[in-house]
């Protein structure tokens, strides 16, 4: 009898430790989730947030973000932002990226200047 009881307790503990869905804490619906459910009915969770987070971590590392900063940077993003970044981090607008354009414009201008089409580098 005592043995049986012990087994039951041990199993209960094990179940709790495993975080079995049966006894897991019910998740409240957060306000952000509620707002998003009301505004767009599309597949909210095609990619799980945990997966998106991992993906963003890997992309940040690949894009040269200091590994010491990655966890803190990822932790402050919402699930929606994580999914956006996981999808588009490589091609979404990155304010700051102007070097190439300026170089090209400059080269074009120099050529135009040299062939005499324009005359803007003259000191007035």
């Amino acid at each position: 009898m005592l043995f049986r009881k012990a087994v039951v307790y041990a199993l209960c503990l094990a179940v709790f430790n495993l975080g079995s869905p049966l006894v897991a804490r019910a998740e409240l619906v957060g306000t952000l989730q509620a707002v998003e459910a009301g505004t767009r009915a599309e597949d909210l969770a095609t990619v799980s947030a945990a997966l998106a987070k991992q993906e963003v971590r890997e992309q940040m590392a690949a894009l040269g973000v200091d590994p010491a900063d990655i966890d803190a940077r990822v932790a402050r993003l919402t699930d929606t932002e994580l999914r956006t970044l996981a999808d588009r981090m490589g091609e979404m607008p990155a304010g700051g990226d102007a070097l190439a354009v300026i170089g090209i414009v400059f080269v074009v201008l120099v050529i135009l200047e040299l062939v005499g089409v324009i005359d803007i580098f003259k000191k007035t």
């Binding site: 932002e81 102007a98 300026i102 170089g103």
Partner: protein, 345 residues
């Protein structure tokens, strides 16, 4: 008035190249694509905004190479009274491999300081309304052309409707006066993305319920509960008939384990919108936490019959029901009289 010619404007990521010519050509290219005038005066007048606004106390952080994101962010943060060192911001938002900074990380950096990052809806009228309300506006511009786009963050600090210009802190230029048409064209090509930093509890000039709620709820989602609560409270004042700000307030109570206050809050939400799935779900959870499992089950069962079959939160309700039943099996029930009182509503 001092004029800063656009030709002195040095863009993000540029070092050492005098930009006279480049900017002239870019400006021309932009103008070619934009025949119509953005008529600032016509926007300002019906909104009863001043003809000229310049937030000249806005600080100036000249950017170093590729650092227009941190520089613009430092500018709006300091203007809101939360100065942050540039090198610190750089570590928070700069992405070396993209040679720039990404919008969600700018937003997150503001949120991480317990401030509300609000995104004005994207027309020139809303931009100048924010400026007139004293809020400098961080903007994204798309410069460059064709296959060579160049994204740039700057901070709008004013406008002059008589001259038809917008004033910016931009790159290494402290006071850039851009023709509104030119500004609007580059801004328009970046989907008119804009950001203002608000102390939680303060409203933007022309608040939009959904955008405001999204910003406030994102504060909640990343655990900035005090800031989120202040923002929800302001929203509940501003939109007294709307259920979502009150749902936010109740969710903050729940996040802090104040189940009784939370349950009352959810009831108030349901009085405004009886079929709001999130409020039904969370009220049931709160009831169950208070030990009223039977009442909780009743709320969910009744709720499931009421909400839209297509509601994306429907699965959450089923999960909560399963959880409540599991809890009822192991946890003690509360005083039936107390639960009967709560469950009556």
């Amino acid at each position: 008035m001092r004029r800063a010619s656009p030709t002195h404007h040095r863009r993000c990521g540029l070092r050492g190249v005098r930009l006279r010519a480049g900017a002239a050509v870019l400006t021309t290219l932009v103008l070619v694509g934009c025949a119509s005038n953005a008529r600032l005066a016509e926007l300002a007048r019906p909104l009863q905004l001043p003809a000229v606004v310049e937030l000249d106390s806005t600080p100036f952080h000249p950017q170093s190479e590729q650092q227009c994101g941190p520089a613009a962010l430092a500018t709006v943060l300091e203007a809101a009274g939360h100065a942050a060192p540039l090198d610190r911001l750089q570590r928070e938002i700069f992405v070396p491999g993209r040679q720039g900074s990404l919008q969600p990380e700018l937003v997150a950096a503001i949120r991480a300081r317990g401030l509300l990052p609000y995104e004005p809806g994207g027309d020139l009228g809303e931009l100048i309304a924010e400026l007139a309300a004293g809020h400098p506006v961080l903007v994204l511009q798309k410069q460059g052309f064709g296959p060579w786009p160049a994204w740039h963050y700057a901070v709008a600090i004013g406008y002059d409707s008589g001259r038809g210009t917008v004033l910016l802190r931009s790159g290494t230029t402290e006071r850039l006066e851009l023709r509104a048409t030119v500004f609007d064209a580059t801004w328009g090509r970046a989907e008119r993305w804009a950001l203002v930093v608000l102390e939680p509890g303060r409203m933007p000039a022309r608040p939009d319920l959904e955008r405001y709620l999204r910003a406030a709820a994102s504060l909640e989602a990343v655990g900035q509960l005090d800031a989120a609560r202040a923002a929800f409270a302001a929203a509940a004042d501003h939109w007294p008939d709307q259920p979502m700000p009150r749902l936010g307030l109740a969710n903050i109570d729940a996040a802090r384990g104040r189940w009784s206050e939370a349950e009352r809050g959810y009831r108030a939400v349901l009085a405004l919108e009886p079929r709001l799935a999130a409020a039904l779900n969370n009220r049931a959870e709160a009831l169950s936490r208070l030990g009223c499992h039977e009442a909780a089950r009743h709320v969910l069962e009744r709720g499931a019959a009421q909400i839209d079959p297509e509601d994306p939160l429907r699965p959450a309700l089923s999960r909560t029901l399963a959880d409540i039943e599991a809890r009822a099996a192991v946890a003690e029930a509360a005083d039936p009289d107390v639960c009967a009182r709560l469950g009556q509503h």
